[in-house]
């Protein structure tokens, strides 16, 4: 499946590269900036972007690990004793404390 789907993508790109016209002029190859000359663009030139994206990525890691812990618990849940529910509840409450903290800290508020 991986081989076949990778193959499709690569074949398509190569076919297009072979078949399409190649007439790049300087103006055509410039990055798009609404018709202006591009200012300090380009990969690795240190463009700045809001720190919110970083925070969201961090929170995603935390909560995704939580979800990852939940999957085996969920898959085995019917065979576990009733006590497993309280263990899960404790875990969730601990996480909700963290969630409440970031909520009140205003991390989830986008401006």
């Amino acid at each position: 499946m991986l081989v076949a789907s990778l193959g499709i993508g690569i074949i398509a790109v190569i076919a297009s590269a072979l078949l399409g016209p190649k007439k790049g002029t300087r103006a055509k190859l410039m990055p798009y900036e609404s018709g202006n000359d591009p200012e300090h663009g380009g990969v690795g030139t240190g463009q700045r972007f809001p720190v919110h994206f970083y925070l969201v990525a961090m929170l995603f890691i935390v909560f995704d690990i939580e979800t990852a812990f939940f999957y085996p618990l969920a898959a085995a849940y019917q065979k576990l004793p009733q006590f497993a529910f309280f263990e899960a509840l404790t875990f969730v409450i601990l996480l909700l404390v963290g969630y409440y903290y970031i909520l009140k800290k205003g991390v989830l508020e986008w401006r």
């Binding site: 398509a12 399409g20 019917q78």
Partner: protein, 407 residues
């Protein structure tokens, strides 16, 4: 020919068939979408190229191959080329694990390419790999609009993945297996999960819209706001590959919802009374259910406005995540205190008798009630994500005195 080679060849053949089917499906999907959008807006839609515009997708495909493939000067050449390939590869790969029928129903072969024990986890992992394609594409274009669009897109997709993953936990708890055929089998015995997990279904549906960048959440390619987001610098076939990835992930989302909540390839049993054996036409039911969801995707696109980015993120973190967690704990409490499935080993599940326990029906009613409450009283939740954050300005605001405009 040794056995493993034959099995491998058959798998490869099935993979190629699925991929060709998906590509054709994608091509005609664009046509169906344009036609339906046209109908929703009281206009005919495309109707020139061939009968019923059936050749329109062919024309589009040929055009996109023969267009000039522009490599922007500022772009990182390697990543710029690889990113759309990553995107489309994992979109295609995710579809292979979804069972389209019972074992051995496809000319003696199994109607899935791979069926792993951790099927759901693999599928979620594949969908999150698609984020790499989008973000790397945005970054490698070396321009401002794509970078911002890619960032927004990846932040949106990871946020809604949490709600998506967590809304499935209730289903997993009830079935006790992450294998997709097990889940379909379970629903064939006990009834579709839409009845027991309506609330989880609505949460999953919303995150599926966000995850596939569709309709009310298509922020990454918001044409009116950010040109075309991460697609701005892409042309020719690379652009088409991104479009392909989007539509195929839509197919996957539809097929996944069908499998998880709507009984997969099993038809409704009450129809057996009219035509015996009608609920056992696997591919027909599977495709019919998928088609319904795809129609729903297009319908929503035609009727709901795009929401603002800050509202989108607030909705994901403040509504989807807590509600999905709440649903999980609700199911957990129900299983712990009221009832468990009689599990007979393997993939055989006993149907609930009324004298055995309450079954899932009470939980189903609670879940339906929650879902209805969420839909009817959605105004209650609106302030959670719709309020405008207080503006903190660096310079103190000078109160306006005197005439407007000053002297």
């Amino acid at each position: 020919m040794p056995d493993w080679l034959a099995a491998g060849l058959i798998t490869l053949l099935k993979a190629v068939l699925v991929i060709l089917g998906l590509l054709t499906g994608f091509a005609y999907m664009t046509l169906v979408e344009r036609k339906l959008l046209g109908r929703f807006q009281m206009r005919p839609g495309p109707n020139r190229v061939g009968p019923f515009a059936l050749l329109q997708p062919v024309a589009d495909a040929i055009k996109s191959i023969f267009k000039e493939d522009i490599n922007v000067t500022m772009a990182d050449k390697l990543v710029y080329t690889i990113a759309p390939i990553i995107s489309v590869t994992f979109a295609l790969l995710a579809f292979g694990g979804i069972p389209a029928g019972p074992a051995g129903s496809l000319f003696g072969e199994n109607p899935w390419v791979y069926n792993l024990d951790a099927g759901i986890l693999i599928l979620l992992a594949m969908t999150s790999m698609g984020i790499y394609g989008i973000f790397l594409g945005g970054w490698a274009s070396g321009s401002k609009y794509p970078l911002l669009g890619g960032l927004r897109s990846s932040a949106q997709m990871i946020s809604y993945e949490l709600g998506m993953g967590m809304s499935l936990l209730g289903v997993l708890m009830m079935v006790g297996s992450t294998r997709m055929t097990d889940i379909v089998q379970y629903q064939a015995v006990n009834g579709w999960f839409i009845f027991f997990q309506a609330f989880a279904f609505i949460l999953f549906l919303i995150s599926a819209f966000a995850e596939t960048n569709r309709a009310p959440f298509d922020l990454p390619e918001a044409e009116q706001e950010l040109v075309a987001g991460f697609l701005t610098e892409y042309s020719a076939i690379k652009w088409a590959l991104y479009q392909m990835a989007e539509y195929i992930s839509m197919f996957t989302a539809s097929a996944f919802m069908t499998t998880m909540f709507f009984g997969g390839w099993k038809g409704p049993v009450f129809l057996e009374g009219f035509i015996p054996g009608i609920s056992d036409w696997p591919l027909v039911w599977f495709i019919a259910k998928m088609a319904f969801f795809i129609f729903f995707f297009i319908w929503v696109k035609a009727s709901i406005l795009r929401i603002r980015y800050d509202q989108l993120m607030r909705f994901g973190w403040k509504v989807m995540l807590p509600f999905a967690l709440f649903n999980t704990m609700l199911v957990a409490a129900y299983i712990a205190f009221v009832g468990r499935t009689e599990w007979k080993g393997g993939t055989v599940y006993e149907r609930f008798g009324l004298n055995q326990s309450l079954g899932w029906w009470a939980l189903g009613l609670i879940s339906l009630g929650l879902a209805a409450f969420m839909i009817v009283r959605s105004d209650v939740f609106r302030p959670w994500f719709n309020k405008t954050a207080p503006v903190r300005s660096r310079t103190p605001q000078v109160p306006q005195t005197g005439r407007a405009g000053g002297d």
